[in-house]
């Protein structure tokens, strides 16, 4: 569970001076009101995109799945996550451990898990679909899980990874999205107030070029490398045979594993993730379009989903007074116990005791085999040995 006492006292210390215990309650109430308004969002969304296919781009899928795992662990439900994976690594023919995607070498952490919900998979991950998800211009037949149904009080996290260059990001090895298109898409989202605040993280080569052209308000962007630098991968695993993660996302995952839903870590800590000594490339960030001070923005404002909650004070009196709570049905019914039909004969599958098989006389194959052996023997050594048998 959370640590509520620490939470209240820290926010109180931020805003008010704690004078005495009697006045503390009034201050607590105001502190809660302050916390309600510190961030304007009521729900969280995440759009996580991996844009490369082929087995040797395993690390991009692992990047995206590790961010997915963190985001789910911190509370965002699957209905609020749009996960786009351009290729299927877990069930790839070359995966020596099927149904797993590892992020640490020696197979320490399986980020695929049991509970993955991929919304756009394989060839559905295209620039067109990505822009349609962002702007909301999807055909009417699109199901709810494939839509970004955010409103003006949603905080959205967008994570892109793949191969990129100066001003573009490559999708599926066949098309690219440019930074101008991305900036225009965000502007259209702002025009329709489809987000309250947006955090954009990109882990590609020359990733900083992708956020250069943003011009809409309330955007914060992080990139794994500057223009002219390459983002490097982290560790290869010798059993799987490919690089498992990119450096920036590896250290980002390490940072996020320490965050829990009640954590007070803020964006300044996120900017310090993966310095040049660890990442070899220089991560960059952009906060000029963001209205709040990054030091006051919690990590869980974007990565988690901490709901604002109010106690229901008013109720409507619908009861006719005087009628007590009644028990349904007087005597207990005797019903036959329901059981599942024995569809899986477990006893036959799991051999705990070898079943006693009936003896059958040897059938044709064994008879023929022995006849052949005898014939060869007597042919080689002569029929006269037969008298030793009979």
């Amino acid at each position: 569970t959370a640590r509520p006492c620490m939470l209240i006292s820290s926010s109180v210390a931020l805003d008010f001076v704690l004078i005495g215990r009697t006045s503390a309650f009034l201050l607590l109430h105001q502190a809660r009101a302050e916390r309600f308004f510190r961030s304007d969002h009521t729900n969280n969304w995440a759009v996580l995109v991996c844009t490369s296919r082929f087995w040797f781009n395993y690390r991009h899928v692992a990047n995206t799945l590790s961010v997915y795992r963190s985001v789910k662990r911190l509370g965002i439900p699957d209905s609020h996550i749009v996960l786009m994976l351009a290729d299927d690594m877990a069930c790839n023919h070359r995966n020596p451990k099927p149904a797993t995607v590892f992020s640490h070498k020696n197979m320490e952490l399986n980020v695929y898990g049991d509970d993955v919900e991929v919304d756009y998979r394989g060839y559905e991950v295209t620039v067109e679909n990505f822009l349609r998800v962002l702007t909301g211009r999807l055909p009417p037949s699109t199901p709810r899980s494939k839509r970004l149904l955010s409103d003006d009080h949603s905080n959205i996290l967008i994570y892109l990874t793949g191969h990129g260059g100066n001003g573009f990001l490559k999708f599926q090895d066949s098309e690219e999205i440019s930074n101008v298109e991305l900036a225009d898409a965000f502007e259209q989202m702002w025009q329709k107030r489809r987000y309250n605040e947006l955090l954009f993280i990109i882990d590609t080569c020359q990733g900083a070029s992708m956020y250069e052209r943003f011009y809409s308000p309330n955007l914060m962007a992080l990139a794994s490398s500057q223009v002219g630098e390459d983002s490097l991968s982290h560790q290869p695993d010798l059993a799987i045979g490919v690089h498992l993660m990119d450096r920036y996302t590896f250290y980002l995952l390490e940072f996020l594993e320490d965050i829990h839903p009640a954590s007070q870590a803020n964006m300044n800590d996120l900017f310090k993730v993966c310095p040049k000594s660890q990442c070899v490339s220089t991560p960059g960030h952009r906060t000029d379009l963001f209205q709040r001070d990054p030091g006051s923005v919690l990590i869980t404002d974007f990565f988690g989903s901490v709901r604002k909650v109010e106690i229901t004070m008013e109720t409507i009196n619908l009861t006719v007074p005087g009628i007590p709570l009644e028990r349904f049905g007087g005597e207990p019914h005797t019903e036959t116990a329901l059981a599942y039909v024995d569809q899986l004969p477990v006893a036959q599958i799991i051999h705990q005791k070898p079943k006693q098989k009936d003896w059958h006389p040897p059938d044709g194959f064994i008879l023929g085999l022995w006849t052949l052996i005898l014939l060869v023997f007597f042919r080689t050594y002569g029929i006269k040995h037969l008298k030793h048998i009979f």
């Binding site: 209240i8 009521t42 999807l138 901490v306 109010e310 049905g329």
Partner: protein, 612 residues
């Protein structure tokens, strides 16, 4: 050795030719073997003649010395023909080619009413409320009564016998409501004399369940004071009544938050706008019963009857605002995400206010939603704690028990904890059949639903009494209040959509504008203007209808799947596409035109020189 002619071909070629000629003549010794018949049957002698055309032959004419260019000498008519051909081709390219290329690479853009859209940017809203003021007997002196124009006078008598004080007021209100016909959005204020016993002493205004208000007149009937002065004196009180019953400045600014700068709305209205859902054509409401302990509790809830009795009346009243779809479900083995703490003093398990925020997320993963629609979902959860953690009470910040034992989350829904430990003792046979008291549950859910739908928890001004809505769910003036703010919000959102769509289509010249989009935009603009006109006239119901039409048309136009901006071409890509196509064609044409031009100039210069 004889001196060889310098242009004798090389020895290999000689051998090859000699071999061929001998083959042709047929004097070469033939080799026996299997290859003979096939080779020679495939290549009979007469076929070898064709090689003579491929092999290099000696020139007939002498090779000219290097350095001397030989230009084909053309005669004048040929030159003239060449010139006219070049000019004709250039003319064809310029006159027919360029317009054809332009036309075929044009994007289809249907016509949009740009002038009317630019008018929408500077939209001025005027909201008019129809108020009917009725003076009861005894509030006006006879002279003032005479001053009232005849058309406004109405003699109505109303007699009732009041059994008790509190019921009297409700009955009076109900009877008054039947007297006058009130349309949607209008308000009727009854001025009653100061000495009247209908209202208690400290109460100045009573607002009933329909659109009527009783106002205690505080103007002493002074002899000689005219009607205008009386009305002027009543103005501030009437304005207060209207602000409570219809709309006030905060409501309107909260509804216009899309188009206003942030910081103009107050904290309370911001909290209200954050709590209630934005205007949407439909909502989905889901009622869920969470039973974590089916081995001990066998719960029965008659949710259909409860919905019919308590929720559907409210939703029917809200039909002009939006469509609602309601469903219900029961979830077994669904647990809360937090561990409640045992409080020995209350001998109950408690959930503190801060841990409530972490309750919702684990549960939400288990709740389903209708995959076919993209309408916002309201979830109302009824959680019956398991027998090990019963009873479970919610404590607020001041560590006090919450009467309703429920909490809600803005724009999401509400959760109520229903304790059933009182229904059975320790020695009953499990599982115990328990019927849930739906009226208590629906009382809480109804109030939460009202908050989510936008009926604000307005604090009544001092001296006001607002009659509680009771079983109907919502009073008519509360609904009117919601309709006012919804119409304004719809008009603001629709105009914002249309203007930003027009701006987007202007900026990006490559987007195709289909006919259906143009039609949607036109109908949205028409509906918007109609809505604004109706708001000015005071017809709230019509205004809301037009504003709903406007917002649905504008959303459909803005979110049309064909308006995809995948058409950004950087300049170097444009050059890369056009240059290989047009350069090989245009360069010869241009050069030939230049050449013709230069020849004409030269000819003219010669002519001038000849003349001179």
């Amino acid at each position: 050795m004889t001196a060889r002619h310098p242009r004798t071909p090389a020895p290999l070629l000689v051998i090859g030719q000699r071999f061929l000629t001998q083959l042709l003549i047929g004097q070469r010794p033939r080799r026996t073997g299997s290859l003979w018949p096939s080779f020679h049957s495939r290549w009979p002698r007469w076929k070898w003649v064709s090689f003579l055309f491929i092999l290099p032959r000696r020139r007939r004419s002498p090779r000219p010395q290097s350095g001397m260019k030989v230009r084909p000498v053309l005669s004048d008519p040929e030159k003239q023909r060449g010139r006219s051909a070049a000019v004709a081709i250039a003319a064809l390219v310029i006159a027919a080619g360029i317009p054809l290329w332009w036309k075929t690479t044009e994007t289809y853009r249907a016509w949009l009413p740009a002038a009317r859209i630019s008018e929408l940017e500077a939209l001025q809203l005027e909201l008019r409320v129809e108020v009917e003021v009725v003076f009861a007997r005894g509030t006006l002196s006879p002279e003032q009564q005479k001053k009232v124009p005849a058309s406004r006078m109405r003699e109505q008598t109303y007699e009732s016998c009041c059994k008790s004080k509190s019921l009297c007021l409700v009955e009076a209100d109900h009877a008054l409501h039947t007297l006058t016909e009130t349309s949607c959005g209008s308000v009727v204020i009854y001025i009653i004399p100061e000495a009247s016993a209908l209202l208690p002493q400290d109460m100045r205004v009573y607002v009933g369940r329909s659109r009527t208000a009783l106002l205690r007149s505080q103007v002493a009937s002074v002899v000689g004071a005219g009607l205008p002065e009386v009305l002027a004196a009543l103005d501030p009180q009437m304005e207060q009544v209207l602000q409570t019953m219809s709309f006030n400045h905060q409501d309107v600014t909260a509804a216009l938050t899309d188009r206003l700068r942030p910081g103009l709305s107050t904290r309370d209205s911001l909290a209200d706008s954050m709590r209630a859902f934005k205007s949407s054509p439909g909502y989905e409401i889901t009622f869920s019963l969470l039973n974590p302990d089916p081995k001990h509790h066998q719960l029965h809830w008659d949710v259909e009857a409860a919905l019919d009795a308590y929720i559907y009346p409210l939703l029917h009243k809200m039909a002009p605002v939006a469509n609602f779809s309601v469903d219900s479900q029961i979830l077994y083995y669904a647990v809360l995400g937090v561990n409640p703490r045992y409080d020995a003093s209350a001998s109950a398990y408690t959930l503190s206010a801060d841990s409530l925020a972490h309750v919702i997320n684990p549960v939400e993963a288990r709740l389903g939603s209708n995959a076919a629609s993209s309408n916002p979902v309201l979830n109302f959860l009824l959680y019956v704690p398991d027998s090990l953690h019963s009873p479970l009470i919610i404590r607020n910040d001041q560590k006090q028990e919450v009467a309703s034992n429920a909490f809600h989350s803005p724009r999401w829904g509400g959760i109520m904890v229903y304790n059933v430990d009182g229904a059975y003792g320790n020695d009953t046979q499990f599982p115990v059949d328990i019927a849930i008291d739906m009226s208590r549950v629906m009382g809480v859910f109804l109030s939460q639903l009202r908050l989510m739908l936008g009926f604000q928890q307005t604090g009544a001004p001092p001296g006001f009494v607002l009659e509680a809505a009771g079983r109907e769910g919502v009073a008519e003036w509360e609904l009117d209040r919601l309709l006012w703010s919804r119409s304004v919000e719809n008009v603001a959102t629709a105009s914002a959509s249309i203007t930003s769509l027009a701006q987007l289509l202007d900026q990006i010249a490559n987007i195709v504008i289909n006919d259906n989009i143009a039609q949607q935009v036109a109908s949205a603009v028409t509906a918007l203007q109609a809505a604004v006109a109706e708001l000015e006239a005071g017809n709230l119901a019509l205004a809301l209808e037009h504003s709903r039409e406007a917002i649905s048309a504008s959303e459909r136009a803005f979110f049309d799947p064909s308006l995809l901006h995948l058409l950004y071409f950087p300049d170097d890509q444009k050059f890369a596409i056009y240059i290989p196509l047009f350069l090989p064609m245009c360069v010869p044409i241009l050069l030939s035109l230049l050449k013709i031009f230069r020849e004409v100039q030269q000819h003219r210069a010669e002519k001038r020189a000849k003349r001179d």
